[in-house]
């Protein structure tokens, strides 16, 4: 079997979810794993990719129209690759990057896609959450090519083996499709760890009440070396950028410690934290859903607790 993985990167470094996807690929059985780095002037990314444990070959395609990973441009490149090589599986991380591109490929290959895979039973059988994670579906595909997106939190990150150097194959770019054009990206710059890979996440909800109050949460996160998370309501209120949103519309996280402050814990939010090791809820409402799933609940006013926590940690 030969597996193709579409790597997520930013032309400078490889996204952590790509490493998790490689691990998932190694669980499919005895395989040849190809990792596609499509981008622009990102040879260093391809060189790093050669060192990932489990990757047998790196396919490298560079062109200006691949720089921003537009689905319309990346899709024909991958479809073309499937003409030269018989792939049994095409994988990508279940991030906004992978989820944007992979269904286009599945449709053009005339196969169904299985999204958000969290467990690989065998090369044809997979588990994925449905209904905001309230149920798990086990499904079997008899498609000639299995197209899957993988949830990063469900698979360990593959390691970098310094000194390993799998071959890099240059792939000729295809002509630009030009149906869509990239204008700009507003990236939220932060010194804090990435929310999807952070060991500790401090999340806040609407009850914080203002941007200033939300800053207290940031102080706590910085004390713990953690990332900032938020509910949809907190993002909608403008307390924090959309990048911090956890849940059905947002990030799926599985940190060692999650502290939920001033949020009720609607299922749309808590579906994103199910695999967290330790959940702490700080809430005045004893009946808030977050308290039902928390390992430790402190029923107290966040404006009393936050300064005390910051001081004592």
């Amino acid at each position: 079997m030969t597996i193709l993985i579409l790597a997520q990167h930013d032309n400078k470094s490889i996204h952590p979810a790509t490493f998790s996807t490689v691990t998932a690929a190694t669980q499919l059985g005895e395989n040849n794993i190809h990792l596609l780095i499509a981008g622009h002037n990102c040879e260093n990314v391809a060189k790093t990719a050669c060192q990932i444990a489990g990757v047998d070959k790196v396919l490298y395609a560079s062109a200006p129209h691949y720089e921003n990973f537009l689905a319309e441009e990346i899709t024909p490149l991958i479809i073309n690759l499937t003409k030269d090589e018989t792939y049994t599986h095409i994988l990508a991380p279940a991030t906004s990057f992978g989820k944007n591109i992979l269904p286009r490929i599945a449709a053009l290959l005339d196969v169904q896609q299985i999204s958000n895979v969290t467990e690989i039973i065998d090369a044809n059988t997979f588990v994925h959450p449905i209904y905001t994670g309230n149920a798990l579906a086990t499904v079997q595909s008899d498609n000639p090519i299995k197209v899957l997106t993988l949830r990063a939190t469900a698979f360990e990150e593959a390691e970098i083996c310094v000194g390993k150097a799998s071959p890099i194959e240059q792939i000729d770019p295809l002509p630009a499709v030009n149906l869509s054009r990239f204008i700009q990206r507003e990236v939220i710059e932060t010194e804090r760890p990435n929310i999807t890979t952070a060991k500790i996440v401090v999340a806040g909800g609407h009850a914080l009440g203002s941007i200033e109050n939300f800053k207290m949460l940031e102080t706590l996160a910085d004390k713990l070396g953690g990332a900032i998370g938020a509910t949809r309501a907190a993002v909608d209120a403008g307390y924090v950028p959309n990048d911090a949103q956890i849940g059905q519309t947002g990030k799926i996280i599985a940190p060692d410690l999650y502290i939920g402050i001033g949020l009720s814990g609607a299922v749309q939010h808590t579906s994103g934290i199910r695999d967290t090791k330790t959940i702490v809820a700080i809430n005045t409402d004893e009946k808030a859903p977050i308290c039902e799933i928390a390992d430790y609940t402190l029923n107290a006013d966040l404006f009393d607790v936050l300064p005390e926590l910051i001081e004592k940690l």
Binding site: A71, R104, D110, I293, A294
Partner: protein, 253 residues
């Protein structure tokens, strides 16, 4: 500009879903059903575009049983001009009409209706797959914008649409040519409440029923299970106890 808005009938997001005793489906008997919330955002955007004079006609379409007419009527009450029900008794999910079949069905509708824009939810809150808009765009050979949080119709230039998309790490702005497929995210707008006079008016709007063509389901549903429950937690009286528990019991800090 003609807009097609595909919608899906789903279990209301406030319902606590239960797996049936055969472990092969979610209980839907006597459960409140609604328009998939993300589709409501797509509909709202279409209606808004019509109100500001950018859209001429809104056609809404769904696949489902006769019962899905309820959601089509709601869509008509929100402001769609006419509706199409593609009738099927199969579940619209793995084990029934799957994403690619759904995309192929809307592809056929798009070929006969020739919309300039297809606006739909970024995912349905039952299967949570988030595939159909991209599949549909690929089959049609159209550009796409997924996770769209803002949509502007441009008057000048080669591209007719400017979109903002919520992606990993921030927000991305793209320009697209039309026709295009746009998948809606929550921050695109706030869907309106349907008023009684609109519900009355919607009853008179045209609703066409057609049959679903053959599907190609090739993913088998083996079972549905509930996720393992978390161990029950404890209440802590104060900050000192919390810090102590996190340090010495959970070893989390």
């Amino acid at each position: 500009m003609k807009i097609l808005v595909p919608i899906k009938r789903v279990i209301d997001h406030t319902v606590k879903v239960r797996v049936n005793s055969d472990n092969n489906a979610i209980e839907t008997d006597n459960v409140k059903m609604t328009i998939n919330p993300f589709d409501a955002h797509a509909l709202e955007e279409a209606v808004h575009l019509k109100e500001i004079g950018k859209a001429s006609e809104i056609i809404t379409v769904t696949i489902g049983t006769e019962k899905a007419q309820e959601q089509l009527r709601t869509a008509l009450a929100m402001g769609a001009d006419r509706a199409i029900l593609v009738k099927s008794n199969l579940p619209i999910d793995i084990g029934g009409v799957q994403s690619l079949d759904v995309a192929k069905t809307f592809y056929r509708i798009a070929h006969s209706e020739k919309p300039d824009l297809i606006l739909m939810g970024k995912q349905s809150i039952d299967s949570d797959a988030g595939q159909t808009p991209q599949m549909l765009a690929a089959l049609l050979g159209w550009p796409q914008s997924t996770y769209t949080s803002s949509l502007t119709i441009l008057e000048e230039g080669d591209e007719q649409l400017e979109v903002a998309r919520e992606v990993d790490g921030g927000v991305e702005t793209l320009r697209l040519k039309t026709p295009a497929v746009i998948s809606a995210d929550l921050r695109l707008n706030k869907p309106r409440y349907v008023k009684l006079p609109d519900i009355m008016k919607a009853k008179k709007k045209p609703l066409e029923v057609i049959d679903l063509q053959q599907t190609t389901a090739n993913i088998k549903l083996l079972k549905i299970t509930e996720p393992p429950a978390r161990a029950p937690g404890i209440k802590v009286p104060d900050v000192d106890t919390l810090i102590d528990k996190l340090k010495n019991e959970a070893k989390a800090i």
